[in-house]
């Protein structure tokens, strides 16, 4: 590979910092669009016999005298600008009788409709989901850090985790910027991104680990990282492609409710591949250069092995 990723590390740091900063600003200004799984509330998804507009639906809702002032009305499916047969309403948490009353009122007032989906979640469950999400992430991070520190070294674990946080901020930034809904499956997608991003990092650092044994001790960390990246970049790109094919198929052809779910992963996987190739190896090189005057992982052998065969037997 001719292009030296490690040599251009300043650029990656700048690019990543800008993207992270932009994401954080968006999160700060726009906040998130949390779904009813987190906030509690009722979703009513209806298909009308004829196309209706938001204001028509709003009028019926306002006449209901059921304290539905905060209802969000959204046209879904095929829309021609301002009317559609498919409408989604997001309301305060209604009992099933109230939900039925609202849907019947809409159906009779606006020419008949079929209920595609209703979901009601109490506020208690919502706050539990949030708490659970935060703990899950924390547990996953600690477990991964422990595993990588055990198999590699803690500097690799921290470098990889920094790049994973970077990926998560990226995903959150996009969701915040486009005001996409965050639902209960969001956490599953986020944790898959964490797993994938770590997987990418592991494959590259696995090469670093191996090259530490086979390279000359006089070789710099830059060279070590550069060679490791060149040896694994094809794999990184190919695997990214196959997971993107799977994920893209899910996003563009799959069901409505897995759309945002797969979008998290599309963004996360791309960011994860980029950050593990460009960012976390760079962080590691900088860190190593600052703290060690002697190249080599903590378990490095006394004799540097240049012979591939010897290295292979050593690996067992």
């Amino acid at each position: 590979m001719s292009f030296d990723i490690i040599k251009h590390r300043t650029w990656w740091f700048i690019l990543s910092s800008v993207l992270v900063l932009a994401s954080l600003i968006s999160i700060f200004i726009n906040g998130f669009n949390f779904g009813i799984d987190y906030t509690g509330g009722t979703i009513l998804d209806m298909q009308f016999n004829k196309a209706v507009s938001v204001s028509e639906v709003r009028q019926v809702i306002d006449q209901s005298n059921m304290d539905l002032g905060n209802t969000v009305i959204q046209l879904t499916g095929v829309t021609d600008q301002d009317s559609s047969t498919d409408v989604m309403l997001r309301m305060r948490n209604l009992s099933s009788d109230e939900t039925k009353a609202v849907s019947e009122k809409l159906s009779t007032s606006l020419g008949g409709a079929e209920i595609k989906r209703t979901e009601s979640v109490g506020a208690v469950i919502g706050s539990e989901v949030t708490k659970n999400a935060v703990t899950s992430l924390a547990v996953a991070f600690i477990a991964l850090a422990a595993y990588i520190s055990f198999r590699f070294e803690y500097k690799i674990a921290i470098s990889a985790l920094i790049s994973i946080v970077h990926d998560l901020i990226m995903v959150l930034g996009v969701f915040s910027f486009f005001h996409l809904e965050i639902d209960a499956t969001f956490l599953a997608a986020i944790l898959t991104v964490v797993g994938y991003s770590m997987n990418e990092a592991v494959v590259i650092f696995d090469r670093v680990r191996e090259n530490t044994r086979t390279h000359r001790r006089t070789d710099s960390y830059e060279k070590l990282a550069h060679d490791s990246i060149s040896q694994s970049i094809h794999r990184s790109i190919y695997t990214l492609s196959t997971v993107l094919f799977a994920c893209g198929a899910l996003h563009f052809f799959g069901g409505e409710s897995t759309k945002n779910f797969s979008l998290v992963m599309l963004i996360g996987f791309i960011s994860g591949a980029y950050s593990s190739i460009c960012v976390d190896t760079s962080i590691w090189v900088v860190w190593k250069n600052h703290t060690s005057n002697r190249r080599g992982l903590k378990s490095s052998d006394d004799e540097s092995e240049e012979d591939e065969e010897a290295a292979e037997t050593q690996k067992g």
């Binding site: 998804d45 298909q47 099933s96 939900t99 039925k100 079929e114 209920i115 595609k116 989906r117 979901e119 009601s120 979640v121 109490g122 469950i125 659970n132 899950s136 547990v139 996953a140 477990a143 991964l144 595993y147 198999r151 209960a184 499956t185 599953a188 944790l191 898959t192 964490v194 797993g195 994938y196 770590m198 997987n199 990092a201 592991v202 494959v203 696995d206 040896q231 094809h234 794999r235 190919y238 695997t239 196959t242 997971v243 993107l244 094919f245 799977a246 893209g248 198929a249 899910l250 563009f252 799959g254 069901g255 409505e256 409710s257 897995t258 779910f261 797969s262 992963m265 292979e312 690996k315």
Partner: protein, 416 residues
Amino acid sequence: MRTRNMIKFFGAVIIIVAAFVTLINPLANSIKQGLDLQGGTHIVLEAEDTPDAPVTEDSLSRAVTIVERRINEMGLTEPLVQKEGARRIIVELPGEKNPEKAIETIGKTAVMEFKDESGTTRMTGSDLKTAKEQIDQGHKNVVGIEFTDEGAKKFADLTASNVGHKIGIYLDGELLTNPVVNEPITGGKAVITGSQTLEDAKNLAILLRSGALPVKLKVMEVRTIGPSLGLDSKLKSEKAFAIGILLIMVFLIVIYRMSGIVANIALLVYVLILLGILKYLDATLTLPGIAGVILSMGFAVDANILIFERFKEEVLVGKTLRTSMEAGFRRAFNTILDANVSVMIAAIVLIVMGSGTVKGFAVNLALGLVVSMFTAIVVSRSLLTWFINTGLITNPWFYGLNRKPPEHMLKKGGQK
């Protein structure tokens, strides 16, 4: 040797492809489908502590039994009632589109009381033997009740001492009816009037028959998916699966040619084994679960990619195809293991801490990782060994090499 390997390779390929083509549809369709695919209602109830009735393990278990009985008596198809955690009950009603009535009936505490005019409770629901909805002579919907032996005595006493007065029949403190007693009733039978429809009468009868809940239940969550949306999701998932697997397969053939074909055959085995395990475990396939299966196909071929990249490196160093392949599998193993463990950690966290549908996704992802280790390593290794041993193709280009290996090596390549 050559012929033997040819028979092994082509035999295995034909069997795998034939098995995939014939089994994939029946297998996928025989796995239980979640409510988000077939339509239905999912309800989460939570038991609440009250001064008289704190939530205990025992009271929750009894509540589950009563809820189950009520649902069964309503005649809903294939319902599922299960405890979740210390105070929740999950109810799944496939195919149920209008759950309002069901929810009302399921969640009612249904404490029945007979009170005299002074407001003293004289009898309770435990004095009832049975209850049944009826239409009386005046075409009114009523619930006929029958008392236990002891209840019949109490009722005779109650009516005898209240001739000319009203008695009140209450359900959860709400007055159902308060008839005036004309004469003592000794037969141990009575009717409760006041039901609007026959269905209301039927639900009341179910409540009275199933008895009162030992704890108060509150509806926490209700999700209803219409059958058309469920079918739509199912068809779309099938399409996404087909497109996903096709793209991956074409990609692998373009990148790795013959090795890619071998990886694709292993991918077919992977999908079959994964679905087979899900069926064996009697798992329920939900939309996120299917997403997990589709996504895991992308991860499943990762092991093969790692192996083939190593394989290419070894060929470029100048080894024969056979030794390169073996070295590729051997040297990639550690990497595959470490890489898979990191995704596995994330999946396990989700399995342990996630809820419902999220858990389904994580289980499929985790299963997929284990199965893919097997198919990518064992299945594709055997296939590739057999194929290389047939000696049909010795040009490394067919194994994904784009750069030429050193000239003197090319002649040796593939020779056994």
